[in-house]
Symmetry: C2
Subunit: 139 residues, 2 copies
Amino acid sequence: MDHHQLEEGTQLALDYTKLQKVAECDEGLVPAVAQDADTGEVLIVGYANELALKTTIDQGMATFWSTSRDELWIKGKTSGDYLEIVEVCVNCEQNSLLYRVRPKGAGACHTKGTNGSARSGCYYRVLEDGSLSFRKGME
Amino acid sequence: MDHHQLEEGTQLALDYTKLQKVAECDEGLVPAVAQDADTGEVLIVGYANELALKTTIDQGMATFWSTSRDELWIKGKTSGDYLEIVEVCVNCEQNSLLYRVRPKGAGACHTKGTNGSARSGCYYRVLEDGSLSFRKGME
């Protein structure tokens, strides 16, 4: 399946090898969920190591460890479309993070909707009867 | 640090080994975020394999793969405090899931607040100046 089909298609093709690949990074990582603090929308799930969390706090911008490029990823820093940190929350067992953010500039997802704008978040498709359909307003 | 300190304390002690442990499960897993579809609250982050996703759909209850017990975990099935599925969303790259749910019964977190009730979700503490404090209403 090519990138376009993966991102814009209706066929479910979950990459269940993802967390194996994340572990192969050889970085200490926890999942980090970014949520729009105003609308409640879950925007993106990334991974954070100690440096990413430190950078998130120091810069006030949601920062992840890019597990594909194996480098620090201050989301949107270059483009200006960053996710301003409102607060950083930690779960009960202290093995994941919730970044509550205010998106600046374009949407948090790298894909574009049919209106040509970046989608606000990555969860724009819903699983129904074994295939994917687009959530209302997120086509 | 004991369990009580980890869950109710104000000291940050993130377990950055979490995803290594998840990978050692030798299951194909993706992160699965459960969000209250009505309030928007991010409740819990778990992990799902193909069986967990299938069970989520078939039973209409948020289901994870327990990476500590290495077994299927239909959250709250025994107690009745389950998370009824409203919809299951998939991200752009198809390597994570978002369960949009309606919590039935007690809160989604296994910890109890100072009022003696289960907390609605796991993200009840916020990181401030290097230590944790309780979010308002989630003490």
